[in-house]
């Protein structure tokens, strides 16, 4: 009897155990199958290289170089813990740093390795290879590090890459994953989807001690596609060299297509610093530097255009026909408007002045009167239609719209009435008006091609860029062109020193006050800020091929500081065209991106922004130029009905 009890007990217990197996093997078998798979498979990403950036002739400007990152496999936390001091020692990093990185990664699943050193030295590689057996938790990941030209060459245009931020991941709608390297600024950001490849994955079978025992399928990386830029490396080089040690920007555009041939901004920064892992301090330095090296002055510096604006005034005057084309006056050196005296830059005056002479000599009094007769809204109407007060649409992130003031604009932004006296200042490109260098290049390019405004762009494409037409009569174009030709080539022209033999360089200088006269009084007498120098030039006189806008902040005189830079760029353009200078290796192969030693040597001086080279900005760092006015409201000038030409 008792034996029977024992028999039933045994059968009962066995049935219970079988139920246990049933639960594991039938009910939860999917879960355990997953766990088993996770046990045996280790996934290591294969990083896709980003596409290169080539200039218009296929020369490499930005590319990649192979590099190794050190991965820490964290499958076995206890083992990692134990080996950490050895790892820190071998990779010459601090133990605290490693612990910090491990702490930061606690939220990630254990089987996901983390990068503990982004840029492995040959010593690190040797260390990892020689300790494969006793430090099995280290692995090397082949990555493609971005290589930019040195010393900030074209840095604002190229932009830089960095680890994707959590905001970007959210915005991307699942296209970006944590740890992805994406473009943060410039073209890297603009064309990120094109440049960025798709990472692959190498899946391998590992045994219980983490040793790889076999390979599973491998998803190859899909490399990013290269982009061909409109930039001409040779012109870019001239532009960069010309700006060394200065604060400003150069924008060279083909007015017939909107192709940007060169675009430079100084002071600059080295995007290579971002290519590995930028330290907090470095980032803070760059961000808080009073010289603002991260600012792309070509598209973000919103400044008064000064006398360059007179070209727009001349166009408005002729096109509106509100003032006869042969309008002329006597310039005594100053004029009174609304009870206030407005001075000409030339105290003794220009004497008898017509439109042509007013452009060539940059007569202020002439344009004061033109401005008074046109009125701000008519000026604003032409300003808006000729490209000011709104973005040009250049294919770079972060472009600023500038300001084209009008009565409506002042009412909207300041809730104040427009004073007629303000029109007088605006007439010579002072006061509330603010433009960016790329806008000026766009505006002049549009005017001299009869009102065909091609959206400036950096990506070379077979398709024509969007075009805005605002037809300007041939006679107006001729008059303006002749005036600008005179600025460079006539006796007494403000940019006469930049005359180029054999080349019909035309242009207009500008010297804009950084701060209004009232502001100057407020700031005190000591705050003697030097004027910003502008020059916008083009060549040749007929069927222009290149427009160059130059800004030199604190350069004082457009004719002396800015015009020579534009002249150099135009000269390089012609020298190249006429085959006088051999272009920098016009092949796609083996061009080390970077700058010839001459440039590198020069800019070495410039690389330290705080070495006193910029004494023009004393205690008060740039109150007007780089701090945008209330620009959130882009004034879209709508002309009064009566003003319709």
């Amino acid at each position: 009897m008792r034996l029977t009890v024992i028999s039933y007990t045994i059968v009962g217990l066995m049935a219970l155990l079988l139920l246990g197996f049933w639960k594991l093997q039938i009910i939860h078998s999917d879960l355990y199958a997953q766990l088993a798979e996770r046990n045996r498979v280790r996934s290591i990403p294969i990083i896709a290289p980003r596409g290169a950036m080539l200039d218009r002739y296929g020369r490499v400007i930005v590319d990649n170089y192979p590099s190794f990152s050190v991965l820490l496999l964290r499958d076995d936390p206890q083992q990692v813990e134990r080996l950490l001091p050895q790892i820190a020692d071998g990779l010459s990093v601090t133990l605290e740093d490693l612990e910090q990185q491990l702490d930061a990664a606690t939220a990630l699943p254990h089987f996901q390795p983390i990068v503990i050193k982004p840029e492995a030295t040959p010593g690190d590689v040797a260390f990892i290879e020689s300790h494969r057996a006793d430090i099995p938790v280290l692995e090397m990941l082949m990555v493609h590090r971005r290589r930019y030209p040195h010393d900030g060459f074209m840095a604002h245009v190229s932009g830089y890459v960095g680890e994707v931020s959590s905001d970007q991941i959210e915005e991307s709608g699942g296209r970006y994953r944590p740890g992805d390297i994406v473009g943060k600024t410039g073209l890297e950001r603009q064309y990120n989807d094109h440049l960025m490849g798709i990472d692959g994955m190498r899946r391998s079978v590992v045994n219980s001690i983490g040793r790889e025992v076999g390979r599973l399928e491998q998803t190859d990386a899909v490399p990013g596609k290269p982009i061909r830029l409109t930039i001409d490396y040779d012109l870019q080089l001239v532009a960069e060299e010309a700006l060394v040690g200065k604060k400003g920007a150069v924008v060279a555009v083909d007015p017939k297509s909107g192709e940007v041939l060169a675009m430079a901004s100084q002071p600059s920064y080295d995007p290579n610093d971002f290519a590995v892992r930028i330290s907090k301090d470095e980032w803070q330095d760059l961000n808080e530097n009073p010289e603002r090296p991260l600012l792309d002055r070509a598209i973000q510096a919103q400044l008064a255009p000064g006398s360059v604006f007179k070209i727009l005034m001349a166009t408005a005057m002729l096109e509106s026909k509100a003032i006869p084309a042969d309008y002329h006056l006597f310039c005594p050196g100053s004029a009174e408007f609304y009870g206030r005296v407005f001075h000409d830059w030339k105290k003794e005056g220009h004497g008898d002045v017509d439109l042509h002479k007013a452009i060539v000599h940059s007569c202020d009094v002439f344009f004061y009167n033109v401005g008074k007769q046109l009125g701000i809204d008519r000026i604003s109407f032409y300003g808006g239609n000729l490209g000011l007060g709104h973005k040009t649409g250049v294919d770079l992130p972060g472009e600023e719209p500038g300001i084209m003031p009008s009565e409506a604009w002042k009412e909207r932004v300041f809730h104040q009435k427009w004073y007629p006296g303000e029109t007088i200042s605006v007439a010579i490109g002072q006061g509330a008006i603010a433009v960016t260098p790329v806008q000026l290049a766009y505006m002049i390019g549009g005017i001299i091609t009869g009102g065909r405004f091609h959206q400036p762009h950096l990506l070379l494409s077979d398709k024509a860029a969007p075009e805005v037409d605002f037809p300007i009569s041939d006679s107006t174009v001729d008059t303006v062109t002749e005036g600008m030709y005179g600025v460079v080539n006539e006796q007494g022209g403000t940019a006469g020193a930049s005359k180029l033999p054999g080349i019909e360089l035309c242009g207009k200088t500008g010297s804009a006050q950084v701060i209004s006269e009232q502001g100057l009084k407020k700031a005190g007498k000591q705050a003697a800020l030097k004027d910003n120098a502008w020059f916008v030039g083009f060549a040749p006189r007929q069927n222009p091929e290149i427009v160059v806008a130059v800004l030199v902040q604190g350069g004082e005189h457009g004719g002396e500081a800015a015009a020579p830079i534009a002249r150099n760029v135009v000269k390089a353009y012609y020298d190249k065209k006429q085959g006088r200078i051999p272009p920098q290796q016009l092949t796609t192969q083996a061009v080390p991106p970077g700058i010839p030693p001459s440039f590198a040597a020069n800019s070495a001086r410039n690389s330290k922004p705080d070495d006193g080279a910029e004494e023009t900005v004393p205690t008060n760092p740039d109150p007007v130029p780089t701090k945008p006015q209330p620009v959130s409201t882009t004034p879209q000038p709508t002309p009064p009905a009566t003003l319709n030409p």
Partner: protein, 362 residues
């Protein structure tokens, strides 16, 4: 001695079951080790099986009464051997469990199991009362406690525990009174905290891990977790012999020995487990049937001692593999790799055969 000891009198059913289980074991040992540095282990296992079978046949020829007669001598030898292992024993994995005998290391506690079975069989057989008196119960407890104590000193908690069901089943069959059983259980419960205090750290860890396995999946919960993953991922039909990733890549701990059933469950699935457990159930029921047909009380107790110890092994090992019990280091009889254990099981089954062959009283 004219009992029928012909070929036909052997328990062929039992032998079939035994070789069925051994066959599955050898197969799984081959699968678990063929691709590793342990390759060839299944050959060794087959030698142990052959040797065990030989010893079993030898032992079955000997009348178990003559064995029972010499019980005090065996018991004494057992105690001395257990003492000897503590003094001159060979240390492996932090425990002194092995005595060198003829070039091989013999796990002495395996012999002790046999001796306890025989000793208790004789003791209970000689109790002629219908109900087990408290004095007899205490004597039985002391007889078992001495070797248990010595084995605990090695330390080998698993083997020590294995001896308890022998005395428990024996006492039950000898007519233990419920109140005595209750008192014994209570005493054991009271002893638990004291016993806990004396556990080695790794043993405590095993128990706490068993209670909360998710707390430290890479530490001591690792073995149970990996075993469960192996079992669970096997599904109904398994991944196929030699194709279990948990098994082949070494995630299953000691996959050829204590966790051999996890390896089998992964590769042969629920189907394989079902067949295996049915075989073990059949084995135990067959033993009980033999006990019922034993010629005398001594034979019955002898067979049931063997059944108790084998049943305990099977239940505890299988429960451990699926996480029902902590890791104890108790192998699966007839399947787990290991010479001493294999020899013990065959010798114990030899005793059973012995009883069976002499079941007809003349």
């Amino acid at each position: 001695m004219n009992e029928g000891t012909g070929i036909r009198d052997y328990d062929w059913w039992l032998l079939t079951i035994i070789f069925g289980i051994c066959g599955i074991g050898v197969l799984e040992i081959w699968s678990a080790t063929h691709a590793s540095h342990l390759a060839g282990m299944h050959w060794k296992q087959m030698w142990w099986i052959a040797l065990g079978f030989g010893l079993m046949m030898l032992l079955s020829r000997l009348d178990y009464h003559s064995v029972l007669d010499k019980t005090p001598v065996f018991y004494l030898i057992g105690i001395i051997a257990l003492l000897a292992v503590l003094v001159v024993g060979h240390t492996r994995y932090g425990a002194k469990r092995w005595l060198p005998v003829m070039g091989e290391f013999l796990q002495v506690s395996e012999i002790a199991k046999l001796i306890i079975i025989v000793t208790l069989a004789r003791f209970f057989a000689e109790v002629r009362t219908e109900r087990l008196s408290i004095a007899d119960l205490c004597k039985a407890a002391v007889l078992t406690a001495v070797p248990i104590g010595l084995i605990l000193l090695q330390p080998d908690l698993g083997t020590a525990m294995v001896l308890i069901p022998v005395v428990a089943v024996g006492a039950y069959l000898a007519g233990i009174q419920w109140k005595h059983a209750a008192v014994m259980l209570l005493a054991a419960a009271l002893m638990l905290p004291i016993g806990w205090h004396h556990l080695k750290p790794y043993q405590k860890e095993r128990v706490t891990t068993f209670l909360r396995p998710e707390e430290d999946p890479k530490g001591s919960g690792y073995q149970i977790l990996q075993s469960k993953i192996a079992v669970g991922s096997g599904g109904f039909w398994g991944k196929g012999l030699g194709h279990g990733s948990q098994n082949q890549l070494g995630f299953v701990p000691v996959r050829y020995s204590d966790f051999i059933l996890a390896a089998l469950a992964e590769e042969l699935g629920f189907a394989g487990v079902f067949v295996t457990l049915v075989l073990y159930t059949a084995l135990l029921l067959r033993l009980i049937q033999n006990a019922q047909h034993a010629k005398d009380r001594a034979g019955m107790f002898l067979v049931m001692g063997v059944a108790a110890i084998l049943g305990f092994h099977v239940l505890v090992n299988v429960a451990m593999v699926i996480g029902f019990m902590p890791v104890t280091g108790i192998p699966l009889p007839l399947m787990s790799y290991g010479g001493s254990a294999m020899l013990f099981v065959f010798l114990a089954l030899g005793l059973v055969m012995n009883v069976r062959l002499r079941r007809f009283v003349n």
